[in-house]
Symmetry: C2
Subunit: 372 residues, 2 copies
């Protein structure tokens, strides 16, 4: 640190590298290290115990620390300079894009990240590298997962606990009589995101193939983020409508009626994609203003056309012991129809579960303490 300057509502600091940072007095007082619980690290300081006009009356610094005496109260604050530098929020300190996501089209087929079940279960570094790869591309295969009821949950629990839904914590995808959703038939399933009718759709999905002794039944995937970028480039107005107009989403059967409203695409304030909520089965009757209905339908249809574009769709036939993990809020999945045929019994059985995105990311961060 080179110089500091006491302004009316903030402290201005010039650092040795020439960068200038402003720290507002309210921010400084609220972040005084003495205000955090020593064991839980949670903030205990109560902002209402100081006036909105609190300011520094004196401030000095040495090689490692900045000291402040305040206009009210006897308390003095001390901040590590390194902490201040790292948490500065002035224009000179604008964070650059830290997204690790790499969108893909069909070229991913040749470089799909794979890991062996045994490595994953026994080696934390293999787990860490796998999680990083999954976060990057949103899809990966695990090979040689034991074909037991617990195979899929053993893999998922290496990351975190399971996300429960109205379908349970674990679900079996196979043909059933009187199916409550289209997955439980032998028909083709077009590409979709699972459970968009939930306030937050499940994060990462795990599908473990126990049997796939059928003609057809290939799994299909497409990177929703790749497709959205294509839409944003070629039809920004359609992209904008899908990001801003909410539609009703719903699943219902005899036991449940789960509804939400959301946009089809969610991006954050910097335009970075957060999620695609695309499932033609589960969008309810559109009800936006009359003035927007036609252009919304045209935008939605344009997205659907892109989703069916062969440039983006990969097709993989799973065999017993394969497990696919994918980011259910980014990568759409589907399957081709399947049936019995010469040499095929027609049996197909996948077992699946979910782990939410925040628990996945938490695991990655905690492993990162050790491996980065």
């Amino acid at each position: 640190m080179e110089t500091l300057n006491l302004l009316e509502r903030s402290l201005e600091v010039k650092w040795s590298d020439g960068k200038v940072a402003t720290f507002h007095y309210l921010w400084l007082r609220d972040n005084c290290p003495s205000g955090f619980h020593p064991s839980t690290q949670e903030r205990l300081f109560n902002l209402t115990t100081i006036s909105p006009d609190i300011h520094a009356v004196n401030s000095t610094f040495d090689k490692s620390t900045l000291y402040i005496s305040w206009s009210e109260g006897a308390h003095k604050s001390a901040y590590r300079l390194q902490w201040l530098y790292e948490n500065a929020y002035s224009p000179d300190f604008k964070k650059t894009d830290t997204s690790v996501i790499v969108p893909w089209g069909t070229e991913i087929l040749n470089k799909l990240y794979e890991v062996e079940y045994n490595d994953l279960m026994q080696d934390d570094l293999a787990l860490f590298n796998w999680l990083k790869a999954v976060q990057k591309s949103g899809i990966s295969y695990v090979r040689n997962v034991p074909c037991t009821d617990e195979g899929v949950t053993d893999v998922a629990n290496r990351i975190s606990f399971l996300r429960q839904t109205n379908f349970g914590t674990v679900f079996d995808v196979q043909s059933k009589p009187n199916p409550i959703n289209n997955a439980y038939t032998s028909e083709a399933l077009p590409l979709h995101i699972d459970l968009i009718n939930q306030e937050i759709p499940p994060g990462y999905q795990f599908l473990h193939c126990l049997v796939n002794d059928s003609r057809g039944g290939e799994s299909t995937y497409a990177d929703g983020f790749r497709i959205i970028e294509e839409l944003r480039d070629t039809d920004p107005e359609a992209f904008h409508l899908l990001c801003t107009v909410t539609v009703p989403m719903r699943f219902h059967d005899t036991e449940t009626d789960i509804r939400t409203r959301n946009t089809i695409i969610n991006a954050d304030e910097n335009g970075q994609l957060v999620e695609l909520r695309y499932s033609p089965h589960l969008v309810d009757t559109f009800d936006m203003d009359e003035s927007m209905m036609d252009s919304f339908y045209l935008a939605f249809r344009k997205l659907m056309v892109l989703i069916n574009d062969p440039r983006f769709v990969i097709s993989v036939k799973m065999k017993s012991g394969d497990l696919c993990i994918f980011d259910n809020r980014r990568v759409m999945h589907g399957r081709n129809a399947f049936e019995a045929g010469e040499g095929y019994s027609g049996a197909r059985h996948l077992r699946g579960c979910y782990v939410d995105r925040s628990d996945f990311e938490s695991r990655l961060r905690v492993l990162g303490r050790k491996y980065t």
Copy 2:
């Protein structure tokens, strides 16, 4: 229905009550009843199989049904007139505010909705009425819940399955050595929303009092929605900042590091409140643009002052067998400090769990099929 008129991209309908509805051709084709799975009721129709310019070439109606022949394909559509009326989206059909929420201050103490455990467990109508009351005020008490480990989950499971978090599916609130959060001490807990660091904080919270043999330890509650309305009325600019500027939220310990970014207040596109995300313990270091930092802090502090205003806070001492349910995304909770004293052992033990809002609402809708 009185008249219909084929326009270029839509059908205009005049109803007997004078209301006029426009139905766009894309909307009509997409909602043709033939496009839904007869058993699952999910949409099977693929919008990309028709052109964006599809239109009706002929349309007639009788007492109950509207018929359409299309410009492409041999398919003809038939719609129930009642369904069309109910799903019309033109200005004449603007939905009025259907919110059932009633905000409260301290006056609620005299009319807090209560239900007996036995009634709740045995009678679906009692359950239905209770859920409606809980949705309305965001808080209610259940009396005489058996003081067993399962008491709280038995009540919660009457509604739905439990929301699991990094604290488990069930948590015990009592003093612990080396606490990982402030709740597990005997200190006062200021009003807060639980787990704002989650992408969606848990919905309804259940707290079952097993022991409260302490001096102090009263539970405190305040209706966040009532307080936000006060802020919106008295300082719309502060309200706007808290609705639009995102801040980092975080919980971390040795096992987890769960983060999200969100606004402190969430309202929907019509201005209806969705949630308050207020927890001073769990907001991380603010990092918005320098130009907004000071005014954001002033807005946040103003909200904090209102939250501590005695007009809004109720205080209730729970006794063994009491269970409080509250909407954790609306109603803040806290507690006074507790200690041993004459005639008090100082023991205090609450057991808690969560059910998410969408599962709560689903249960209410499904019971409503029978009772409304």
